[in-house]
């Protein structure tokens, strides 16, 4: 009886302390306000399955803001990066959007991770005239939702063209197969890849679909083998690609793989080992680049987070940079910022960024191959 009461008291005390602490924490930044502040909001998953990405966006945006604030801010404004966790849920993203459009200090939003999440929020952003730059949305219709909606992510048709080039020129493929995951990105990419392959001399021998997160690929592998494919184009994240590559190389060690920029992730090599050797894919951002901007960002990111940034984090970094430059040029005015961004030519860590009339960034791609357990740039 006594001990139970004691525990209860302790729990209550703990909760009170936690609440007090968190209130304190949330109040703290407000005390040092003197200069005019504008906010860039990162609305992305900070908890849940995709937390890794949301946190890396937030950290990247903070690095960019710190860089500008050190120089004395952008156009007389101190830039503050605020985070809003949407845990990859469209419902939460829509609520956050409603909240952000009313906070007039917020001049731009970066987010979210999946297209489905951000597309539940884009109607609100568009109707109220607040810019969103997504660093990772891949849904073909995402940026068509309005003139305030921008995408600083690879456009599939451009990225895919480089993948097809890898297969045709670097791997000398004759018969190609496509394995795609059944998500918005997978389905859209598959469609575009089929069109791109049809324009080449390669023969599209077999198309197989799979559910994101499955781990047995014996059926698609058998079908690819029967069709006589020499190269497989894998439209999937590393959780699809790695087990698929491992299982396929056990059956046919000579099979070749071509994939997409999302494989630019150290985990692919750590988990895949021998099985992913010789895989070709395109990237827009490369950590090993000798560009001083990339080196500066990479080192700062490693210092802050403890590991190398992904290309998506780099895209979020550039998105924050675009906002900072726009704020420096036109100040705290949402409509003017939109117009500025629409016409921007921004030299970021992921190359030159210009938005087309739809709001998609046009990027150039480099080819990467996995050789001896390392990502190597193809000349």
């Amino acid at each position: 009886m006594f001990s139970q009461k004691g525990i209860m008291r302790k729990i209550c005390l703990l909760i009170v302390v936690l609440m007090a602490l968190s209130m304190f924490a949330s109040c703290a930044p407000a005390e040092k306000e003197e200069k005019k502040v504008v906010k860039i909001a990162v609305a992305a998953p900070m908890t849940g399955d995709h937390a890794e990405y949301g946190i890396s966006y937030f950290e990247s945006a903070k690095l960019m803001a710190a860089k500008w604030n050190e120089k004395g801010g952008a156009g007389g404004y101190t830039i503050e990066v605020v985070q809003y966790d949407d845990k990859s849920s469209g419902e939460e993203a829509a609520t956050i959007a409603e909240r952000l459009v009313e906070d007039m200090d917020v001049v731009g939003v970066i987010g979210s991770y999946t297209s489905g999440t951000i597309m539940a929020a884009t109607p609100t952003y568009q109707e109220n005239g607040l810019c969103v730059i997504s660093a990772s949305a891949s849904h073909p219709d995402y940026s068509k939702q309005g003139n305030y909606i921008f995408r600083n992510n690879t456009v599939i048709s451009v990225e895919g063209a480089t993948s097809v080039e890898c297969a045709e020129e670097n791997l000398m493929s004759k018969k190609i197969g496509i394995l795609y995951i059944k998500t918005d990105w997978g389905a859209a990419t598959n469609k575009i890849m089929q069109e791109l392959i049809a324009k080449t001399s390669m023969e599209l021998a077999k198309v197989e679909e799979t559910i994101d997160g499955s781990d047995d690929y014996s059926t698609p592998i058998a079908n690819f083998e029967n069709a006589g494919c020499d190269t497989i184009l894998v439209v999937g994240m590393h959780n699809t690609f790695v087990p698929f590559a491992r299982q396929y190389r056990e059956i046919n060690p000579d099979i070749q793989f071509v994939a997409f920029a999302n494989l630019y992730n150290q985990q692919v090599i750590d988990l895949g080992g021998e099985a992913v050797e010789g895989t070709y894919f395109p990237v827009a951002y490369f950590n090993e680049s000798d560009d001083p901007k990339v080196i500066e960002y990479r080192d700062a990111f490693i210092k802050a987070v403890g590991k190398s940034p992904s290309s998506l984090a780099a895209q979020a970094y550039d998105a924050a940079g675009i906002y900072c430059e726009a704020i420096a040029a036109v100040g705290n005015d949402r409509a003017a910022i939109r117009d500025y961004i629409a016409g921007i030519s921004y030299e970021g860590v992921g190359g030159m960024i210009q938005f087309d009339e739809v709001g998609d960034a046009q990027k150039t791609f480099m080819k990467i191959v996995i050789r001896d357990g390392k990502f190597v740039l193809v000349d």
């Binding site: 209130m23 908890t47 489905g116 539940a120 939702q145 918005d184």
Partner: protein
């Protein structure tokens, strides 16, 4: 420990009794307050949370019928929610229907699926039934994901028009969405209240208390169990239709297992088999994640902690106390007469 719990119980029961005595005045007063919330000039994101709370309250009222009253625990209600949302979205965007008929169709189609899901209740019960419902929700999600020609598969349906009633767009800005869902919530509450206090409702509760006994008493349990699923599905489907138009973009990820669990948590936390609990449960579980935003990454840790503590000290649900007021007999039933009848028969037995 027991004493504290008893004190809490009595405290809640006292409140409930006083509310019960003046329930009509109380509901009207509460409704008036809720109806005037938009007039306070609150930011629209708070109104949006209000709308989400009401959507989930409707879903919880729906799930409460099989789970709270009839004792058939379903962990697949996101399935009905999804069917309702997709039906209405497809009818409006592809077939050019207007919203209200599409909503009725959504409720009807969800009801048909409710009938289908009700069928296994004849053979399986308890945890096995729960797994059936879980399977149902997954089948719906996979069908929505793979039936590309109808549902646009993983790409989702976008640009769903706002809810419109007689040509007026119901948005958050003109408070239309808020009042529309409020009207739907009131209608659902009245509907559920009437059902629960009818012959059907009494049959539901008797099945929950003792299925075998109610069968022996002449309750056609098969019919009522299926009916509880059908009614529940209709309500969920209607909520789904509103949700699709309110969110304006739906994809298969909007209706996952998490959604089912959230609805069930509202029912359990609020208090199974009560209507008041559904409102409070929805308010707490929908608004907490927003209210705890200042905790950043830790907010769901805290959220979980709150749930655990609540369940530890109120396992029957926050408002799930047993009513201490005397049982009200339906009209035309005279308890004294029944009691006399029992006495007579027992004395007759003695004579024999």
């Amino acid at each position: 420990m027991k004493n504290t719990n008893q004190v809490i119980d009595n405290f809640f029961a006292d409140i409930s009794n006083s509310i019960r005595k003046n329930r009509i005045i109380f509901s009207v007063a509460l409704l008036t307050v809720v109806a005037f919330i938009p007039a306070l000039g609150l930011p629209s994101y708070i109104l949006r949370i209000g709308v989400m709370i009401m959507i989930y309250a409707i879903l919880a009222l729906g799930l409460n019928i099989p789970t709270g009253y009839t004792g058939q625990v379903s962990i697949g209600h996101a399935g009905f929610f999804s069917i309702g949302a997709y039906t209405s979205a497809i009818l409006v965007t592809q077939a050019g229907w207007s919203m209200l008929p599409a909503m009725v169709a959504a409720a009807a189609i969800a009801g048909i699926f409710g009938f289908l899901l009700g069928l296994p209740t004849l053979r399986v019960s308890g945890t096995y039934l729960s797994i059936c419902t879980l399977g149902f929700a997954e089948i719906v999600r996979m069908a929505v994901l793979n039936w590309d020609t109808l549902t646009n598969g993983p790409m989702g349906i976008k640009n769903i028009p706002y809810p419109t009633v007689f040509g007026v767009e119901m948005t958050l800005r003109n408070y239309g969405a808020y009042y529309m869902i409020l009207v739907m919530l009131v209608m659902t509450s009245v509907f559920v209240h009437l059902i629960i206090n009818s012959k059907i409702g009494r049959a539901f509760r008797s099945i929950k208390e003792d299925e075998l006994a109610s069968m022996m008493m002449g309750v056609f349990t098969m019919k009522y169990k299926i009916l509880s699923f059908v009614l529940s599905a209709i309500i969920s489907g209607m909520a789904g239709a509103f949700y699709a138009h309110f969110m304006r973009y739906i994809d298969p990820n909007s209706f996952t297992f998490d959604t089912s669990i959230l609805i069930l948590s509202i029912v359990i936390l609020g208090g199974m088999g009560t209507m008041r609990g559904m409102f409070l449960g929805a308010i707490i579980l929908v608004s907490f994640p927003e209210a705890l935003r200042f905790l950043e990454q830790y907010r769901f840790v805290f959220y979980g902690l709150v749930l655990v503590i609540m369940m530890r000290y109120r396992p029957q649900g926050l408002l799930g106390w047993r009513s201490k007021s005397p049982y009200e007999f339906p009209k035309g039933v005279d308890p004294d007469k029944i009691a006399r009848g029992f006495n007579n028969s027992s004395s007759q037995n003695k004579m024999i």
